[in-house]
């Protein structure tokens, strides 16, 4: 067995919130090992002063000094996990600044997280997996072209997607709402294979991602079972043809949202959130239903409207939808309501998640929601940039999996 990935923990509060064990369990499950960089008091005093962020909490001072030790190479690590209490302003400032500091001054992958006493290992697992993958499997992530015939499957919380790729081209796709995980997976694979004019026997390697990746991966005997953070960033820069240099990938999903800064196709800093469904694709789905249109029509509809004309004073999926209904009753146009819904989701992702990563252009939006042009437009306005939506963007996880899976063909 390969030695565990050494994850340096910089934190304030997890022991006292009862979640330290959860952090360690999540790391352990993906062959990671949490450790605390060893420094002396004199280092703490010197490095805290040198860093210049004059916080009061001693444990945050300690976190700052430990970050300096990592960046200076005095303590070796493969990855960094920054964790502080949710709702602590002082810690949020430190968390953000340390994340930026480490990202800019080292090659260490970083993930930051604000926990509550309800945080579980399950919540942290995908993030830890991404962290260990980036640390350990750089060679795998360095792949820029797809070779042979591969199948990629993305078993998401809302939809299941499959693609068949051959010689760097997508030759078959399949899509359906996720009902029973395995049934949906087999359904989309069948569609994708039919479109490609192939059978499972032709497939040389398979990759799975998304919430159902473990179950489907086991069922398909997949070569690669990988979380969606690294797979989607890889897929995004591949499809957008931005494999070199910086990029930011935004994926507003059915259950949670991802914001990932990427350098040369490898994720550097990422956040994954979804405390409220009001900031997810689900909200747009509900809006479409309320407006009596198909989700595919919501985008064009919203582009004709102006969201500012609809009063929305809640991000909550329940109260937000209520606002929309009230607006319709008060005579707002369906176009304006559609635009307001798109703006609401974009704004919430912008406020809650994009502040945790440093946006670097190009901004690439992927996932099913990237097909809703009103949402892309709203995000572009908030970020003051033109957002790139690559072809097949709704298949991003499946494409990323198929691309990365081709790295396993030679092994067979």
């Amino acid at each position: 067995m390969t030695p565990p990935v050494r994850i340096a923990q910089l934190s304030c509060g997890p022991d006292y919130s009862g979640v330290q064990h959860e952090i360690e369990t999540a790391a352990h499950e993906v062959n990671g090992e949490i450790f605390f960089p060893d420094i002396a008091l004199k280092d703490i005093r010197r490095d805290f002063d040198a860093f210049g962020l004059d916080v009061r909490s001693p444990d945050l001072k300690l976190a700052i000094a430990r970050a300096k030790a990592l960046v200076d190479g005095r303590v070796e690590a493969d990855a960094v996990f920054i964790a502080t209490c949710f709702r602590c302003a002082e810690a949020a400032i430190v968390r953000n600044e340390l994340r930026r500091f480490i990202h800019e001054n080292s090659k260490l992958p970083v993930v930051s997280y604000s926990f509550t006493e309800r945080t579980t290992a399950g919540t942290l697992l995908t993030r830890m997996e991404a962290l260990t993958t980036i640390a350990r499997r750089r060679a795998l992530l360095a792949r820029e072209t797809q070779q042979g015939i591969t199948l990629g499957l993305d078993s998401g919380s809302a939809t299941t997607k499959a693609v068949v790729m051959k010689d760097n081209k997508i030759i078959g796709t399949g899509w359906q709402p996720t009902t029973e995980v395995l049934k949906s997976a087999h359904g989309v694979i069948e569609t994708a294979l039919a479109e490609a004019g192939m059978t499972m026997k032709d497939i040389q390697a398979t990759g799975t991602t998304g919430y159902g990746r473990f179950l489907v991966g086991k069922d398909l005997n997949a070569n690669l079972v990988q979380e969606e953070l690294t797979v989607n960033s890889k897929g995004a820069v591949y499809l957008a043809d931005r494999q070199h240099g910086p990029a930011t990938v935004i994926d507003i999903g059915g259950m949670d949202n991802k914001a990932i800064t990427v350098m040369d196709g490898i994720p550097g800093v990422f956040t994954m959130g979804g405390i409220c469904a009001g900031a997810s694709g689900r909200f747009l789905e509900m809006t479409a239903k309320r407006l009596g249109v198909d989700i595919t029509e919501l985008g064009p509809l919203s582009m004709k409207g102006f969201g500012g004309r609809v009063p929305m004073n809640s991000y909550c999926i329940v109260f937000g939808t209520q606002s929309l209904v009230n607006a319709l009753a008060a005579g707002s146009s369906r176009e304006d309501v559609a635009a307001a819904a798109c703006h609401s989701v974009a704004e919430q992702v912008f406020e809650q998640q994009l502040q945790e990563v440093d946006i670097k252009e190009p901004v690439i939006m992927v996932g099913g929601t990237s097909l809703i042009e009103g949402l892309v437009h709203a995000m572009g306005e908030l970020l003051q940039t033109k957002v790139v939506v690559p072809h097949h963007s709704q298949y991003i996880g499946a494409v990323g999996s198929a691309l990365l899976a081709s790295g396993f063909i030679k092994d067979e």
Partner: protein, 152 residues
């Protein structure tokens, strides 16, 4: 979540820290072993960790203090000696509390000096330290003197 079964129930653990020119942790350990009477004694870089029934530990600690009363300091510890949850080797780095102790070790010589001096001096005659909550303003006559001194 798995069930937790504690060990060392009903015992106490104390740190015995020595900051002295004359007594080393090793000296203290030897004295400790002589009087341990079944209590667990572990030598560390700063002194000893003693674990056992409270009365036993208190007896040992009181004896050990006598070795160098003004330079031996004692405090409670939550964990039994060598507990893997607090062990540096397992955590990768020192537990956070260690740095707090590291800091106090820089102050302890002044406290030792205080303890020594107060054997010679009348404690009641020693003026109170500054109250950190009071921020006294300079009184007007002192200020006047300072101004006059500057002007002359």
């Amino acid at each position: 979540m798995t069930d937790y079964t504690p060990t060392h129930v009903g015992t106490v653990t104390k740190y015995v820290v020595v900051e002295s020119f004359e007594v080393t942790p090793a000296d203290l350990a030897i004295r400790g072993y002589e009087i341990s009477n079944g209590a667990m004694i572990k030598e560390t870089c700063f002194g000893l960790v003693v674990n056992g029934k409270e009365e036993e530990v208190d007896r040992i600690v009181n004896e050990l203090r006598k070795v160098d009363p003004d330079h031996i300091f004692v405090k409670d510890r939550g964990f039994p000696p060598g507990d893997s949850r607090r062990c540096r080797a397992n955590l990768g780095g020192a537990r956070p509390g260690y740095h707090g102790m590291e800091y106090e070790m820089t102050v302890i010589p002044y406290v030792s000096h205080g303890l020594e001096e107060l054997k010679k001096r009348d404690g009641a005659a020693v003026s109170a330290p500054e109250n950190p909550l009071e921020h006294p303003v300079i009184d007007i006559t002192t200020l006047k003197k300072l101004i006059d001194a500057q002007e002359s």
